[in-house]
Amino acid sequence: MMVKPKDNEYKQYVSKLGILNINMKLYTMLIALIAIWAIFSIATDGNFITPRNISNLLRQATSTGILAIGMVFVIIAGQIDLSVGSLLGLTGGIAAILNVWYHVNGIVSILVALAIGVIIGLWNGWWVAYRNVPAFIVTLAGMLVFRGILIGISKGYTIAPLSSDFQFIGQAYLTQNSGYLLGIIAAFLIVYLVLNSRKTKAKYNLDIPPLGIDILKMTFLIILVGLFVFILNLYQGVPLSVLILLILALIFSYISSKTVFGRRVYAIGGNVEAAKLSGIDVKKITLILFAINGLLAAFAGILLTSTLNAASVSAGQNAELDAIAASVIGGASLSGGVGTVFGAVIGALVMASIDNGMSMLNSPPFWQFVVKGLILLIAVWIDVVSKNK
């Protein structure tokens, strides 16, 4: 009988503080993003917040967003990848060359490009994990090498136009009805997942969060989904490229927070020595991480190429820096062990919003660099200050 209250205490702590704590960082970032949007909306007399611009903004964020998803994994593990910008350009270029010069079917070109992304990621990872060359150096070398290869194989030409199936992936929109259908499916999925989690918790005789909180959570998410579909449908519908970003974000967020692999990545970044002693194969996981990053860089490359309907030698220049900045703004720490996929995606949205908003204000492009740089600096400074408290 004495044990009972103690047990309940644990349950309370786990459920209440746990959920709030993890999401605290995410909430502050969301608020920061909303604040940025509000400022631009006022400054542009509401032009910033029109459905058309939101649709454009989201599309602008896709390639940085996808890069950031991979980058945040690498950063969580305590590594860095400077080669993804060049890799984005190279994989996009290869897909375009196959498609335009050799008339290879769009889908096949894309699959080849994705495979090459993985192989190059493995190359990076092999040097880092099995040859013990610091990731900074390996990927700095990669940044030069991959860009060089791209210039070589494209002979410096811009490669266009793509076949229609290739263009489709970056330029298509879901029809209004399929957008709503997707929204409804997502809503049902949310309800199912929450209820299912309650059921299994009950089965294990574990504490179940209060129904009120779960209902609140579900309502919030469903409204978010509804708003997303509704606003985008006011323009041309949900862009396929944005949908791809969302799906990738969901998949990799799941991997990072719910799988054995994800847990190990955090462990390696948190303390690589302790991770080794816990029986984790650090080398193998590092290799896989870089491969994933290569795959995502290829995704970003294909989307960018498809959206622009062209591949050029300069595609993706400095994109690795945007991805790193997005991850860090999204709460990742370059010393490893900390970060979230959704944080990184929000970070990418922050970056895209600044680009988009400032060009709407017709401010000269140099200001975008200055402001993005300062925001990165301040975001990390706030993080440092809050940690020291």
């Binding site: 786990v14 799988t259 190990r264 955090y266 302790a274 816990s278 194969d281």
Partner: protein
């Protein structure tokens, strides 16, 4: 003016409520070599850190008189200015710089901010000649042997006109011939009027060079006497002479047949790959047995067990048999798969992932067990196990997803234990399992160890605390400078016998 160059009176220092020094007094005569002896953790190093300004004035109570005046130090620099220099166990030289640069670091001869390397070279040459050291001042420190590095360090200290030199275990990593050179230099320095405090548990060295010996135990001064009036046995008695208290909740357990055996283990230094730090060690372990490994710091115990566990980064060789079958362990994962788990010595650096939660730390080693479709962690199963072990080990944490760094040392250690127990090991290696944790938590960990052996788990425990070794182990092996010097069934064994063995004496 008294004959004493240094008097430390009633020095008391505590760390977070734990008294490291309790009214310690130390009197050192001018021009003598004064040996400071005591077990690991007795408080020798803490006392010397106070004397050298590492713990500044105000962080301890008591008074220090130096050359007759009260000594108030705010920093290491202060101490250096007063002529007090300390040479640590771990060398404080910068390996990538040359000898001359190391000797003058922080103190470079310069003209308008531009370093005068020629003058540096000449000065260094002079200093080295004083010691009859035939080293080129331009040699990089990393290219010197450990012994020569030690001598360079002493030269560095003396170049700052030190007249009180503190040496903290200077010979622990030296070869016989280097020890000889060092001792000769110390004798030579003594003739030149340098006073020296010599910390060592190598009693033969102490007997050879010291004039006076002070013994510290459990943060208290036990005694101080002329070396003429002392023998090694007397010093050992003073070092360990304490009653075994009721701290050890010994419980009866049956010991089964031999389950684990280690044959001819040799381990080599990471930095000096031809130096053996474990020499041909073999031992066996029986089912449900607690095997204690005693020895002094630097005896090679940690290197031995981490090699067995597959986590030693340097070279090693040897054979391991589990239940009669030879097994090969290349990395910790192999060891864990064979049912061998290890709680490492350095909890913060090797045991915990400080940013991760209590829960995640506990299951990280065993995470495969909760793997379901698509590699997803079954968090409910995980949580059940975690709660089970939190209760079993009575880990005190406000919530399970609290970052583990926020727990107390004892509870952190229990988390590391739980992590290893969740793997359901047959052999559990504990390296200094109770270091830095309070008495209450120690007691609980001992209790746990006994309940584990009652379940048939076999335990290897390294401990530097002799009472713990004697209070817990069924059998004890003692290591000295990489060799297994003795093996005792824990019946009628005394601390003196083990200490004798640990310092390299006869059984």
């Amino acid at each position: 003016m008294s004959e004493y160059i240094l008097e430390m009176r009633n020095i008391t220092k505590d760390f977070a409520g734990v008294k490291a020094l309790d009214n310690v007094s130390l009197k050192v005569k001018k021009g003598e070599i004064h040996a400071l002896c005591g077990e690991n953790g007795a408080g020798k190093s803490t006392l010397m850190k106070i004397l050298s300004g590492v713990y500044p004035y105000g962080t301890y109570s008591g008074e220090i008189f130096y050359n007759g005046e009260k000594l108030i130090l705010h920093s290491i620099k202060d101490a250096e200015r007063k002529g007090i220099a300390i040479i640590y166990q771990e060398l404080a030289l910068i390996k990538e710089l040359s000898v001359k640069e190391n000797i003058f670091i922080g103190n470079e001869p310069n003209k308008n901010g531009i370093v005068d390397f020629d003058q540096m070279y000449i000065e260094t040459k002079k200093i080295l000649q004083q010691f009859n050291l035939d080293i080129n001042p331009n040699t990089l420190v990393k290219n010197l042997g450990v012994g020569q590095q030690q001598l360079v360090e002493i030269a560095k200290a003396l170049s700052k006109n030190a007249n009180l030199l503190i040496l903290d275990e200077p010979t622990s990593s030296l070869t016989e011939s280097d020890v000889e050179i060092l001792l000769n230099i110390l004798k030579h320095l003594k003739q030149n009027g340098v006073t020296c405090i010599y910390i060592s548990h190598k009693l033969n060295e102490v007997m050879e060079i010291a004039d006076t010996v002070t013994v510290i135990r459990d943060g208290k001064t036990i005694g101080s006497d002329d070396v003429k009036n002392l023998t090694q046995e007397k010093i050992i008695n003073m070092m360990v002479g304490r009653e075994l208290s009721q701290l050890y909740p010994r419980e009866e357990h049956s010991i089964g047949k031999e389950i684990f055996e280690v044959r001819n283990f040799n381990v080599f230094d990471i930095k000096v790959p031809n130096r053996r730090i474990v020499k041909n060690v073999s031992f066996s372990l029986r089912e449900g047995e607690i095997l204690g490994i005693a020895g002094l710091i630097g005896a090679g115990r940690t290197e031995l067990v981490s090699s067995i566990f597959g986590s030693y980064p340097g070279k090693y060789s040897g054979e391991i048999y589990l239940e009669g079958k030879k097994i090969i362990i290349k990395n910790p994962n192999d060891a864990l798969k064979h049912g061998i788990a290890m709680v490492p010595e350095d909890r913060k650096r090797l045991g915990l992932i400080s940013l991760m939660s209590v829960k995640e730390n506990m299951t990280i080693s065993n995470i495969e067990k909760y793997k379901s479709i698509l590699g997803t962690i079954n968090e409910n199963e995980e949580l059940l196990d975690v709660k089970d072990y939190v209760k079993k080990l009575s880990i005190k944490t406000p919530r399970l997803n609290l970052p583990v760094k926020n727990l107390s040392g004892g509870n952190q250690q229990k988390v590391v234990l739980a992590k290893n127990l969740l793997r359901k090991p047959k052999i559990l290696i504990l390296d200094e399992p109770t270091r830095g944790i309070d008495v209450g938590a120690k007691y609980e960990i001992y209790k746990l160890m006994f309940s584990l052996v009652q379940e048939g788990i076999s335990i290897i425990m390294i401990s530097s605390e002799l009472p713990e070794i004697l209070g817990i182990s069924d059998r004890i092996i003692v290591m000295h400078e990489g060799e297994k010097k003795g093996e005792f069934e824990n019946k009628n064994v005394t601390q003196e016998m083990i200490m004798q063995c640990a310092i390299g004496g006869k059984e």
